[in-house]
């Protein structure tokens, strides 16, 4: 029964931690969100039956997917018409796709390269799983966890309109690491050359075994999250195909296009997908076919579960386009619907006002099932949030995840960087942008820890989270030298790649903002967005925008934060202030004090910084140091002693990994602070010892 106390205590803690008050609400005059009834979907006439395996199409190309007209926002050069059937019992997909592809590179090609991502979990020697082992996050998959994607037919239409079967000519390649056991990239020789601006039509039939959750894909129970699921073309660039293997620490890259996807599955399932549902028709075999259409997107993901609660709201704004937000919510999170909608609406407003409008008019928000591992992920016009049953009101994690994943519609969805090679350009930019929204809108935001297997949160009302925590400074500090962003992301050390892609970038962007000011930074970001939306920028494209907007290249800064893994650490090496005794002082002459400040560059990276010395009479002396030398010495003679010295007092250089050594005072309160905290810790230790002694 002594133990019973523990469980009742758990309940008490849970109630206290969860907080019963509603989350902070947006001011109504600034954010207009109206509930919507469920969207009417056009009904298709019932079909007598559907084939269990979609057969190769003999139809002529659909007019919906015609390669781009000049007026379209994106090049629309990789268009997919997909027909897929889910067997929820067998955990399989059977699909057929027709790809209409146009060569928008300046180089001809005589092959096609496909991503077959689900083969990453086909065997334990895939590059993805090898890298997981390196990262130390590998758990041997159980027998039912494996997945596979097998192409059973691949043919292309030739100039005369006839189909040529190339199934037997396909082979797997491993362009990144030569891993012969990796089957995530398939190449097919065409036997002819596709010149720049020429088009090609290909048809692929495949079957897939759906994995248990891996990399935010798979099933658990009746919840399916289907991402990276179809044979998808790589991106043809001037230097050839850019088709990387699936790596543990990186995501995806593909061309824009139009997607027409028909998903057939048992009628009980509620479906969410990229694009908009255009038509829904029941079939005689108890299934329903959902037809989705998405334009100017570069991927397509979908989810299905019979348990979703479907809710909709409309975002409205005086100058931004209205957006219909559809939320597919887990029943156990019903009370948190408003947290999702509020965070999504603030994201639309702020990203829209700061960077550029969200152009699609609709978005699907998926609240993932527990243990689905699909949480916190972005796909075009659809993203997955993440919350817990016990989600304290003052701990804005659900809002942070929602804002971040929705924010990827800008930095990934629209400005479509190559995530294999420059993941920092979407993850870092978006972490930075998320932190700004969180700082602007979601307060109070507190630190929480989770106890009892991670199920019971406890909110620390004493510890507010600041912009720096949202920028993830702490993770950067621990892994500052892990990799230089200049290298291709898939070559980063898998265990620490995220700290470079997300954290370091967000922190240096925040530093850049503090250097140039938010108005300039906002112009940089909006210019970059407008210029590169629906395209694939590279790092130099961003640096060029910075140069253009600021009028300077920030070359040194980018050398340090992008091209190197050097750390920044400036600190006060010496700080003394003593009365001058040069033998000329008389009892009647006023005392004078010599203050010596030695500022040192402990890190290898350099940055111009200010050094401010404050004297006992309140006088402040500010020195600007270029930060290049190993140290600088300032000497002052004043009628009063100095009080404090601060290096980078405005904290422009957020990348400084040790800010504690940036200041020095002659009247430190260190003893008071250490006494207070050691007494707190002592009480914690007493509690721990009493708890153990309880059972003795």
């Amino acid at each position: 029964m002594r133990t019973l106390a523990v469980f009742l205590l758990l309940s008490l803690a849970a109630v206290s931690a969860a907080g019963l008050q509603p989350p902070p609400q947006a001011a109504p005059e600034q954010l207009k969100v109206t509930p919507l009834p469920n969207q009417p979907i056009a009904s298709a006439p019932s079909t007598p039956s559907t084939q269990s395996t979609p057969s190769p199409s003999t139809s002529t190309p659909s007019t919906q997917s015609t390669p781009s007209a000049p007026s379209t926002p994106s090049p629309r050069n990789a268009n997919y018409e997909i027909d897929v059937r889910l067997d929820p019992d067998a955990k399989t997909l059977r699909g057929r796709e027709t790809i209409r592809w146009r060569n928008i590179s300046g180089a001809p090609t005589s092959e096609l390269q496909f991503h077959l991502y689900w083969n990453a979990w086909r065997n334990a020697e895939s590059t993805w799983l090898r890298e997981r082992r390196l990262a130390g996050t590998y758990t041997k998959p159980q027998d039912d966890a494996w997945s596979a994607i097998d192409v059973s037919s691949l043919r292309v239409r030739d100039a005369s309109g006839a189909w040529t079967d190339l199934t037997g000519q396909s082979r797997f390649i491993a362009p990144d690491d030569g891993n012969e056991r990796d089957r995530t990239v398939m190449t097919v020789p065409l036997g002819r050359t596709i010149d720049p601006d020429a088009t090609l039509e290909a048809e692929v039939v495949w079957t897939s075994k759906i994995p248990r959750p891996f990399a935010r894909t798979g099933y658990i129970g009746d919840y399916f999250f289907i991402a990276q699921w179809f044979p998808k073309l790589g991106v043809l660039e001037e230097r050839g195909w850019n088709t990387h293997q699936f790596h543990a620490a990186t995501e995806f890259f593909s061309d824009f296009g139009v997607y027409d996807v028909a998903i057939t599955l048992p009628r009980r399932f509620i479906v969410g997908a990229s694009g908009r549902e255009m038509q829904r028709g029941d079939n005689a075999d108890g299934t329903t076919t959902h037809r989705y259409h998405g334009e100017d997107i570069h991927d397509f993901a979908w989810t299905a579960s019979p348990d979703f609660i479907e809710l909709s709201q409309r975002f409205q704004h005086p100058t931004l386009p209205a957006v219909e937000m559809r939320l597919l919510l887990q029943p156990e999170h019903q009370s948190q619907a408003n947290r999702y909608f509020t965070a999504a609406a603030w994201t639309l407003k702020h990203y829209g006002e700061w960077f550029g409008a969200y152009p699609y008019g609709h978005v699907t928000i998926v609240d993932p099932a527990f243990q689905s591992e699909s949480d916190g992920m972005e796909y075009p016009t659809l993203f997955v949030g993440g919350t817990r049953v016990l989600a304290p009101a003052h701990v804005q994690t659900p809002e942070n995840v929602t804002t971040h994943e929705f924010g990827h519609q800008w930095w990934y969805g629209l400005v479509a960087t190559n995530e294999f090679e420059h993941a920092w350009m979407d993850e870092g930019f978006n972490t930075y942008s998320t932190a700004r929204v969180m700082d602007a809108r979601f307060n109070p935001n507190r630190v929480a820890l989770r106890y009892f297997g991670g199920f019971v949160p406890w909110t620390f009302e004493d510890i507010p989270l600041s912009r720096l925590e949202n920028d993830r400074l702490d993770g950067y500090r621990l892994n500052a030298e892990a990799d230089a962003p200049w290298f291709l992301t898939f070559t980063y050390w898998p265990g620490t790649a995220r700290f470079i892609s997300y954290n370091k970038t967000a922190v240096w962007m925040h530093s850049l903002e503090r250097q140039v000011g938010w108005p300039t930074m906002q112009r940089i970001m909006s210019t970059y967005f407008e210029r590169w939306k629906f395209r694939h920028p590279k790092p130099t494209d961003f640096f060029e925008v910075v140069r253009e907007v600021t009028g300077r290249g920030n070359v040194t800064f980018f050398d340090e934060v992008y091209r190197s893994s050097n750390t920044f650490d400036y600190g006060v090496q010496e700080f003394t202030s003593a009365q001058i005794d040069d033998g000329r002082t008389t009892p009647t002459s006023p005392a004078r004090y010599r203050t010596i400040v030695v500022v040192r560059r402990y890190g290898e990276a350099t940055f111009p910084i200010d050094v401010v010395t404050t004297f006992a009479n309140g006088e402040r002396v500010k020195e600007s140091w270029d930060g290049q030398d190993r140290r600088v010495i300032y000497t002052y003679e004043r009628p009063v002693k100095a009080a404090t010295v601060q290096v980078d007092p405005d904290r422009v250089l957020l990348l400084d990994i040790n800010y504690t050594n940036n200041s020095r005072t002659l009247a430190p309160r260190t003893r008071a602070a250490s006494l207070k905290w050691s007494l707190k810790w002592m009480t914690w230790l007493e509690d721990l010892m009493l708890t153990y002694a309880f059972f003795s």
């Binding site: 049953v389 207070k676 914690w684 708890t691």
Partner: protein, 312 residues
């Protein structure tokens, strides 16, 4: 004893904090409230005891953290583990005097208390070895089996967090019940050692088990009553546990307040011992009965026996 063992470690941590803060202005915010920025920086560089300096030191999180640590089977930091070993040994020493005092229901004076502590110390250490082996087996084999194997298998296909959590609570209940049972056996073994002057730890453990088995209703009812009081204490602490606070006099005020909670927790432990001793005496002995003569410090029970035989 609690303060005596925790204070040196607290001084070590204080030294680490002092070293890291130096004469930095960061100390100002750390003294006046929470300087989370500095705290994270400290944690990033911390080793040893410093790694245990987390937000769990604040308010009711102290209690949640300690209970969660036990139920989740987290191994304590090495330095803390040593302190814990000494602490448990200290309790083994004091328990003899405490039970003896409660069994006699009269003042045994300081010398009587410590004499009894000395008399029963090695018997309790032997009992501690027996119980320690059981706890070791529970935490090294049973806990991982329950939470890393059974729990995973039970919840692997569940997609509803509430259900998964309920399974975890169920396993906590099972594991907690086993801990409770061992705890009960230990408590009544110690009581039988003192009241019946038993020498054999194994024999006392078996006898404790017989008492618990034959009077399960009474034993559990008493345990439940004590638990309700214990719960009430924790509930009050959850409401009033102080946060970070500032430095200066208020810091001492909050510390004294926290120590009151520690004292109440100690009183709760005494309450368990006293009531269980009374229950045992009411069933298998009689009130104020203790088999052994009042030990006289510094003589051990053996010396006392020799003296008695000489007199005879």
């Amino acid at each position: 004893m609690t303060i005596l063992l925790t204070l040196p470690l607290a001084l070590v941590l204080r030294g680490a904090i002092d070293t890291h803060l130096g004469a930095s202005l960061m100390a100002d915010r750390a003294a006046d409230g929470v300087n989370w920025d500095w705290w994270q920086e400290f944690s990033a560089q911390a080793s040893g005891l410093g790694t245990t300096f987390t937000p769990s030191v604040l308010g009711f999180a102290t209690t949640l953290d300690s209970i969660s640590s036990v139920l989740d089977g987290k191994a304590p930091n090495a330095a803390i583990a040593w302190a814990l070993a000494f602490y448990l040994a200290g309790w083994a020493f004091l328990s003899g005097g405490i039970i003896d005092r409660y069994a006699r229901q009269r003042s045994t004076r300081t010398y009587g208390f410590f004499a009894a502590s000395g008399v029963y110390f090695f018997r309790f250490i032997r009992l501690g070895v027996v119980v320690g082996i059981i706890y070791w087996w529970l935490f090294v084999y049973v806990h991982p089996w329950l939470f890393d194997d059974v729990f995973v298998r039970l919840t692997r296909n569940l997609s509803i967090e509430r259900t998964v959590f309920l399974w975890r609570v169920a396993l906590y209940t099972i594991f907690g019940a086993v801990l409770m049972l061992v705890n009960l056996l230990t408590d009544y073994s110690k009581i039988r050692i003192v009241v019946e002057d038993r020498r054999s730890a194994l024999g006392a453990f078996a006898a404790g088990g017989r008492f618990v088995r034959r009077r399960l209703g009474h034993v559990l009812a008493l345990y439940w009553l004590n638990t309700v009081v214990f719960m009430a204490v924790l509930a009050v602490w959850a409401l009033v546990a102080p946060g970070a606070g500032g430095a200066g006099p208020s810091m001492w005020g909050l510390f004294v307040f926290s120590q009151l909670y520690v004292i109440v927790r100690l009183l709760m432990k005494l309450q368990f011992i006293a009531s269980q001793t009374a229950l045992f005496q009411s069933h298998l002995a009689h009130v104020r009965y203790a088999a052994s003569p009042t030990p006289v410090w510094p003589d051990s029970a053996a010396a006392e026996a020799v003296a008695r035989s000489v007199r005879l």
